[in-house]
């Protein structure tokens, strides 16, 4: 490690606020309009909910004391009830937050230590997450806890329970004997119940996990593929470009929606499969954008200068060119996210998306008008509105991003 005291000048100038780079300037510009602020806040809220929904909408209490033959026993049913999928979601979210924090915190570290620090801590972070994920997946077994804790409380067999803000699980029905299907909004069920007597609000919140999961994972796959293929096409051009563009055209000829239908017909429903198909067929737009950007950037003086200073290919491609060519790809990724959310909802609306009882906005819309003789508006409005807002927010942020990173608007 470097000895900071050996460089008095450096530590002195580090006290000044660091000058802002291109991205910092672009982000500030992006967030300037109120509408964009709201959209970003909304997306952030949906993301937070989709990760933390097991703590927000569940019938299991955080803590409860049961009267048993051995006296009062304290239990934590909500935590015991967490599934492997929940843990993996927390791990992934935690990793992303940690990576962002590393990036942010090291921004003020001096140049020479920053690069190493970032690499080492990011790699540690990712490998720790992968190890923890494998451990959780192999060691943790999902519990099935069918206990009705409300009933226990009511009958006096338990005390001291703290319930989640929305005390209904997504698959939890009102107990038999209490006919609570298709119930209008009430204090007990803020947005009413569906035809199986399940809480609409709880289901709506849980559905954000499916939407965000499919959106972000599929676009992550698509972005990775598109960036690699587009970068190679644009930088090498010539034969590489011709071959790459033919592959792009072939992939573009695949009708994604029908491909998913076919796969579901053959292999059955799987969220993961939908994510992968959306990713593997959705990268072509990114590849095209990046190719065009790279064709333009590769002849700019600073890229020639980087090559002239002896920078190796990976450094030229990914350190010098990618940050400069990524902007239109990010704009398009924002629209791509909206598209993926829409496709997931459409599939679920048709009844071939996620497997019930897992909720999805599209599936809830379908359930609201099914059977076709009755339409329960209170079941359709909330998921429809949230779906609309999500797609709108992604599109608005995409457009604002396009304006914010327009280099012509930079002074």
């Amino acid at each position: 490690m470097t000895n900071l005291t050996a460089m008095p000048e450096l530590s002195a100038s580090a006290a000044l606020p660091p000058p802002r780079g291109y991205w910092a300037v672009a982000m500030r510009k992006l967030l300037r309009p109120l509408l964009v602020k709201l959209c970003v806040l909304y997306i952030a809220a949906v993301l937070v909910i989709s990760v933390l929904v097991p703590f927000i909408a569940t019938g299991k209490p955080y803590i409860i004391s049961l009267h048993t033959a051995h006296g009062l026993v304290t239990r934590y049913p909500l935590f015991a009830d967490l599934t492997t999928r929940d843990y993996l979601t927390f791990l992934t979210a935690g990793m992303l937050i940690a990576l962002a924090a590393i990036w942010r915190l090291t921004a003020r570290v001096d140049l020479l230590r920053r690069r190493k620090l970032r690499w080492v801590s990011a790699l540690t972070c990712i490998s720790a997450t992968v190890i923890a994920g494998v451990l959780v997946a192999s060691l943790h077994h999902n519990q099935f806890d069918g206990t009705n804790y409300r009933h226990l409380m009511k009958s006096g067999r338990a005390t001291g329970a703290i319930f989640a803000p929305i005390p209904w699980g997504y698959a939890q029905m009102e107990p038999l004997g209490r006919q609570a299907v298709n119930e209008m909004p009430s204090w007990r069920h803020w947005l009413g119940t569906d035809r199986s007597g399940r809480d609409v609000l709880s289901r709506m919140l849980w559905a954000s996990r499916v939407a965000m999961g499919i959106g972000f994972v599929s676009q992550f796959i698509a972005l990775s593929l598109g960036i690699i293929v587009g970068a190679l096409m644009g930088y090498f051009s010539g034969v590489c470009d011709i071959l790459g563009m033919r592959i792009v055209e072939m992939v573009e000829a695949i009708p994604t929606f029908f491909l998913i239908l076919t796969f579901i017909a053959v292999f059955g429903r799987s969220t993961l499969m939908i994510m992968i198909i959306l990713g593997v067929t959705g990268w072509t737009g990114y590849a095209r954008f990046l190719r065009a950007e790279f064709l333009r950037i590769r002849q700019l003086d600073y890229i020639v200068a980087a090559r002239a200073s002896g920078a190796p290919l990976h450094s030229v491609l990914f350190r010098h060119m990618l940050p400069n060519g990524l902007t239109p790809v990010l704009v398009s990724a924002s629209f791509g996210l909206a598209g993926a959310v829409t496709i997931e909802s459409s599939l679920s609306y048709l009844g071939i998306g996620v497997r019930p009882p897992t909720p999805s906005w599209g599936g809830m819309l379908n359930a609201a008008g099914n059977p076709a003789t009755v339409f329960h508006w209170f079941q359709a409005l909330p998921p429809g509105f949230v779906l609309f807002l999500t797609v709108l927010a992604f599109n608005l942020v995409g457009e604002a991003l396009r304006d914010a990173i327009d280099p012509r608007s930079f002074s």
Binding site: L10, P19, Y22, Q299, D301, V304, H320, N324, S411
Partner: protein, 358 residues
Amino acid sequence: MSDEPLLTVRNLQTHFWAGDGVIPAVDGVSFSIFHRQTLAIVGESGCGKSVTAMSILRLIPSPPGKIVAGEVFFKSQNLLAMSEKAIRRIRGGQIAMIFQEPMTSLNPVMSIGDQILEAIFLHQNVSPAAAVDIAVQSLRDVGIADAQRRLYEYPHQISGGMKQRVMIAMALVCKPRLLIADEPTTALDVTIQAQILELLAAVKRQNDMAVLLITHDLGIVAENADVVAIMYAGRIVEFADVYELFANPIHPYTRGLMACVPRLGAPHGRLTTIPGTVPSPASWPKGCRFEPRCALCTDDVRQRCRDHMPQLRQINDRHWAATFLAPGFDSAAATAPTLPFRRADQTPPGVPSTQGAL
């Protein structure tokens, strides 16, 4: 002071493929540069001078460009035949390059420090702390105040002249033996131009470098160059040391260029121009490529100029020219131009100091 050339270019040919046609942007260029020498390549836009410079470091975008023939020897290694890995060592480490547009020569998303540090780490095995010291010192060497602070700044926060200084600092940070300066001052205003040229001369002295200066400004040539190569339509048409060239220009193109330079104190009137434009490579004449615009071509040689391409021949011990109008052209030998001349080695033989545009 006779010594081995630092860089020797032999019969370099770089062609570009555009649509169906082939454009021979550089068509058989040969020259040598010696240690501590400044060789200026002069010519108008599109004559192939930048392509020549880029070809030396194999920076031609391929496709559409390709170096189809020739050799570039640097310290007895052929740069055109070496592996990609080996030439990366040369790039930046032995031969550095600075560009015309300081506005676009720095990466806008990287801080200045990051860019200089990368150049250091690519070629020098030093500790991070030492690398920062080198970076700060290199910025100070090119006259940038508050170098520590500048390391953290981004290109959009500094001025054009400052950017060119940073470019020079980046190029010099690994102490190259040869600096290729591709129109280093064209995009700068005149006062900054003078500063940058002075800076280049100073760093050249300090680092014992050779400089390949690419320019179209004869004033810059007269003040800075030791040896001058005039390029026209992909070929060198005249090669001489700077005093000889300005005293006895031979090629009609060189003479035309010199006539175009406006002079202080000259009678007012229209500025002189060379009539016509550079012919496009697709329509290059079979013979001398300057013949269609040539003002000095006489009727008795015109047919010869149209039918035969004059090769670059050694007219005397300091002068090469590719024109049938040169005295003694027919008896001269077609040798590759090489002149270990440095103006610091001898006193100027009375060249008018008002030469040039400045």
